[in-house]
C-alpha cells in the first residue's frame, strides 16, 4: 500500500496527460467491429476495467509494451484500468501473439475461465492474422481462430500509448451499447 502511494507520487510527475496520450497513439487503426462486441448489451465498465494479459506465443515485444502501461509515464491505473493476475477477475482479455499451436488450448481455457460479459482484444499485428509468422506450421494465424475477438490494436508492436488509447476507446464503445 505504501509502495503504491509512493509509486503514485513519483508517477504523477511524469505521467502523460490523456490528450497527449491520444495524440501519440494514432488510434485510427483500432478496429472495433470485428467481433461480437455489439451483442454485449448493457455492459457498462465505467471507470473500473480489469485486464488479463495473455501471451499466446508472441515475440514478447508486445508484452513489454503492456508492462510499460503501468510505468510512471503511462500509468494506466489513473484511468481506472489495471492488470489482474487471474482471468477470473478480468473484464478484458488482452491477447498477444499469433497463438502458437501449443498455446491454443491454454488460451481457450483462459477464455472459458473469464466471467462474461467479456471483451477480447487482439493486440499486435501477429495477433490479428499471424503477422510475420502467418502460415507457419506452429501457429494458428491469429487469436480470432481460437476465441471470438472484439477488437484489434494494430502495430508490431503497438506503442504503449496506442494500447492505452485503444483499450479506452474500446471500453467506451462497449459501455455505450445498451
Amino acid at each position: 500500500m505504501l509502495g503504491r502511494i509512493l509509486y503514485n507520487i513519483i508517477g504523477r510527475k511524469q505521467a502523460l496527460p490523456e490528450d497527449e496520450l491520444n495524440a501519440r497513439a494514432d488510434a485510427g487503426g483500432i478496429l472495433l467491429e470485428t467481433g461480437p462486441l455489439a451483442e454485449k448489451t448493457g455492459r457498462v465498465f465505467r471507470r473500473s476495467v480489469r485486464i488479463r494479459q495473455v501471451d499466446a506465443g508472441s515475440c514478447n515485444a508486445c508484452e513489454w509494451e503492456c508492462i510499460a502501461l503501468t510505468n510512471p509515464v503511462y500509468d494506466i491505473q489513473r484511468f481506472g484500468m489495471d492488470f489482474v493476475a487471474s482471468p477470473r477477475h478480468a473484464d478484458i482479455l488482452l491477447v498477444t501473439g499469433p497463438v502458437s499451436a501449443a498455446m491454443a488450448n491454454a488460451l481457450k481455457k483462459t477464455y472459458n475461465a473469464t466471467p462474461g460479459p467479456k471483451l477480447v482484444i487482439a493486440c499486435g499485428d501477429c495477433a490479428k492474422d499471424g503477422g510475420i509468422y502467418k502460415g507457419s506450421y506452429a501457429v494458428t494465424d491469429g487469436v480470432g481462430n481460437i476465441v471470438p475477438v472484439d477488437a484489434f490494436i494494430p502495430g508490431c508492436p503497438p506503442t504503449p500509448a496506442r494500447i492505452a488509447a485503444g483499450i479506452m476507446k474500446i471500453v467506451r464503445a462497449s459501455s455505450k451499447i445498451k
Partner: protein, 517 residues
C-alpha cells in the same frame, strides 16, 4: 568462407572423442549444435557442432554427414555424456529431424508438445507447413510426465503456462518441502513458432524481419547476428560506418535491457519505488531508440550489407541525451545500493555454481556472474569492437546480487562505448556509406556463422545458401542466449524458497520466445 571458421568432417566413431577434445572440460565452448537436412545436395542428414577455441578467435565446426540408418531410425552418437552442454541441442535435433542421439541420458521430447503426432519432423525439407499443420491436434493435452520427487512432506506446485504477471508462457512444476524448492521442472516451448522452417521460405532481406521477431527485447542483437551470418556466407563485408552503427545500437540495446532488468528485480522484492524508477529510466531509453531509429525496439535498421538508418547523424545532440541518461543511471544505482531492505534479499539468493554454469554452457550474465569470463565482444571481436577499448566484467558468487551488480557494471561500460562512438562520429572519424551492395544470392557453397553478444548472452546464427536458385537459404539456425541458460534454472532455484522464484527468474531474465523459436 569466413576466415575464423574451420569446418571438419569426422567419422561417427570419432565424433564423441573429437568433441570431447574441443570441449576440453568447458575451456572450449560449445556455441551451437544443429542438424540439417541436406538430402538435396547429396550430403544426407548432417550434424554440426560448433566449438570456439579458448583464447583464440577461431571456431571449429565438426560435421557428421550422411548419417546412417539403424533398424529404421537414423542415428548419431550423442555427445552429452562428454559435453553436457549438448543435452538440449540433441533433444531439439531429435524432435525436429527425427534423428536419434544414441546414448543420450534423457532423450525425452523437448520442443514438440503432445499435440504434434509422433513421426512428424517439422524441419525435414520434404514436409510442408501445411502438411504439418493438418496433422496437429490442438486440443490434445501434453501428458508427458514431470520429474517426480517422492518422500514425506513433498508437495507439488504447478504454475503456468498462463502466469499471474505479464510474462511469457511456460509451465513450472515445483517440488517443495514446506517453502523450500527441492526440484523445479520446467516445461517450455509453448511459444514455439516454427521460425527455423519459416526462414527457409524467405529471401535474405525478409529473413531480417523474422530474426527481429524471435525475441522482442533482443531484436537488434538477433538481426545483427543474422545479417552477420548472411554477409559472411555471401563473402561481403559492410562499411566501417555501418559496423560502428551496429555496435552503437547493440550497446544501446544492452543498456535498456540491463537497466530495465535491474528495475524489474525490484518488482521481485516488492520494492515499488525502485521498480518505478527503473521503469522510467527504461522508458526514456525506449524513446531514445524511437528517436534515433523510428522503432522502440530498434527494428527496421539492419539489412544484409549494412544498415538503413544513419543513427550517428547528430552525434552532438545524441551525446547530450546519453549524458543525461548517465546521470540518471548513476543516481539510480546509488539509490538502489543504499536500499538495504532490497539489497539484502538479493544476496545468496539463486546461487548458480561455477562448475554447473561451465558444463551446461551458460552464457551472458548468467555465466559471467558465476565467474566465467566469456564475452563474444572480447573472444571474437567483430564490427567496431576491435577498435574500442572497453572492459568486460565478471563476478564470482553467482547469486542474484552478483547478477544485478554485473548488469550495473556492464551498463556503465555500454554508456562509455556509446560515448566513445559518438565522439568519434563528432570528430568525423567514422565517415562513409552505411550500406554496401545488398545480398541477393548465396550459393550452396556459402555457409557461415554470425554472432553477437546480445543483452542476455551470445547469440549465434548459422546460414547456408543454395535454396530456391540461390535466392533463399537452405538452412538458417538461430540460437538465442536463453536456449543455453534455461537448463540452469533448476540448479539456481534448488534450496531457495518458492516466493524467491520470481526474483531469481528476473535476475536471469530469460526469453521464452527466443529459446522456443
Amino acid at each position: 568462407m569466413a576466415r575464423n571458421e574451420i569446418y571438419r568432417e569426422v567419422a561417427p566413431e570419432e565424433f564423441r572423442q573429437e568433441c570431447s577434445k574441443l570441449f576440453d572440460g568447458g575451456r572450449g565452448r560449445l556455441r551451437l549444435m544443429f542438424a540439417s537436412d541436406n538430402r538435396e545436395t547429396g550430403e544426407g542428414f548432417c550434424i554440426h557442432a560448433v566449438f570456439s577455441h579458448p583464447g583464440k578467435n577461431l571456431f571449429e565446426i565438426l560435421a557428421l554427414k550422411n548419417l546412417e540408418e539403424k533398424k529404421g531410425v537414423i542415428v548419431f552418437p550423442s555427445i552429452t555424456s562428454v559435453v553436457p552442454a549438448a543435452h538440449w541441442y540433441e533433444r531439439q535435433i531429435a524432435d525436429m529431424f527425427g534423428l536419434l542421439p544414441e546414448g543420450h541420458p534423457d532423450p525425452a521430447p523437448l520442443v514438440l508438445h503432445g499435440l504434434y503426432p509422433p513421426g512428424v519432423y517439422p524441419l525435414r525439407r520434404d514436409i510442408s507447413h501445411k502438411e504439418i499443420r493438418e496433422s496437429l491436434d490442438l486440443d490434445k493435452e501434453d501428458l508427458s510426465p514431470f520429474m517426480e520427487v517422492k518422500g514425506e512432506g513433498i508437495c507439488e506446485i504447478p504454475v503456468g503456462p498462463v502466469h499471474a504477471g505479464i510474462i511469457e508462457p511456460g509451465h513450472f512444476r515445483f517440488s517443495a518441502v514446506g517453502e523450500t524448492v527441492y526440484y523445479l521442472d520446467a516445461r517450455l516451448f509453448f511459444t514455439h513458432k516454427g521460425i527455423e522452417k519459416q526462414f527457409e521460405g524467405m529471401d535474405f532481406d525478409e529473413g531480417v524481419k523474422l530474426a527481429e521477431r524471435i525475441s522482442g527485447v533482443s531484436s537488434f542483437a538477433h538481426s545483427a547476428a543474422y545479417c552477420h551470418a548472411v554477409e559472411r556466407a555471401a563473402d561481403t563485408s559492410i562499411p566501417g560506418r555501418a559496423g560502428a552503427i551496429r555496435t552503437f545500437l547493440l550497446e544501446l540495446e544492452r543498456l535498456y535491457n540491463h537497466l530495465g532488468d535491474i528495475g524489474n528485480m525490484c518488482a521481485g522484492t516488492g520494492f515499488a519505488i525502485g521498480y518505478a524508477k527503473g521503469a522510467s529510466l527504461k522508458e526514456g531509453l525506449m524513446r531514445l531508440n524511437e528517436q534515433l531509429t523510428g522503432s522502440r525496439y530498434l527494428r527496421g535498421v539492419n539489412i544484409p550489407g549494412g544498415v538503413l538508418v544513419d543513427v550517428l547523424k547528430n552525434p552532438a545532440e545524441t551525446l547530450r541525451m546519453v549524458d543525461g541518461i548517465t546521470a540518471q543511471f548513476k543516481s539510480f544505482i546509488a539509490f538502489l545500493t543504499g536500499a538495504s531492505s532490497h539489497m539484502e534479499r538479493l544476496e545468496n539468493a539463486g546461487v548458480l555454481a561455477r562448475d554447473i554454469a561451465l558444463s551446461l554452457g551458460a552464457t551472458g550474465i548468467a555465466a559471467r556472474a558465476s565467474g566465467l569470463d566469456d564475452d563474444i565482444r572480447r573472444a571474437h571481436p567483430h564490427l567496431y569492437y576491435g577498435q574500442l577499448i572497453f572492459e568486460t566484467h565478471t563476478r564470482r558468487k553467482g547469486d542474484v546480487f552478483a547478477r544485478m551488480m554485473l548488469r550495473a557494471d556492464e551498463a556503465a561500460c555500454s554508456l562509455a562505448i556509446l560515448k566513445s562512438i559518438l565522439h568519434k562520429a563528432k570528430g568525423k572519424r567514422l565517415e562513409g556509406d552505411i550500406a554496401a551492395q545488398p545480398v541477393k544470392k548465396i550459393p550452396e557453397s556459402g555457409q557461415a556463422l554470425g554472432y553477437v553478444e546480445g543483452p542476455r548472452g551470445s547469440i549465434f546464427y548459422y546460414v547456408r545458401g543454395g535454396g530456391d536458385k540461390n535466392k533463399k537459404p537452405l538452412r538458417v539456425k538461430p540460437r538465442a542466449a536463453s536456449f543455453c541458460n534455461w537448463p540452469l534454472m533448476p540448479f539456481a532455484v534448488h534450496g531457495n524458497i518458492v516466493p524467491d522464484f520470481p526474483l531469481i527468474n528476473k535476475s536471469f531474465n530469460l526469453s521464452y520466445s527466443g529459446s522456443d523459436a
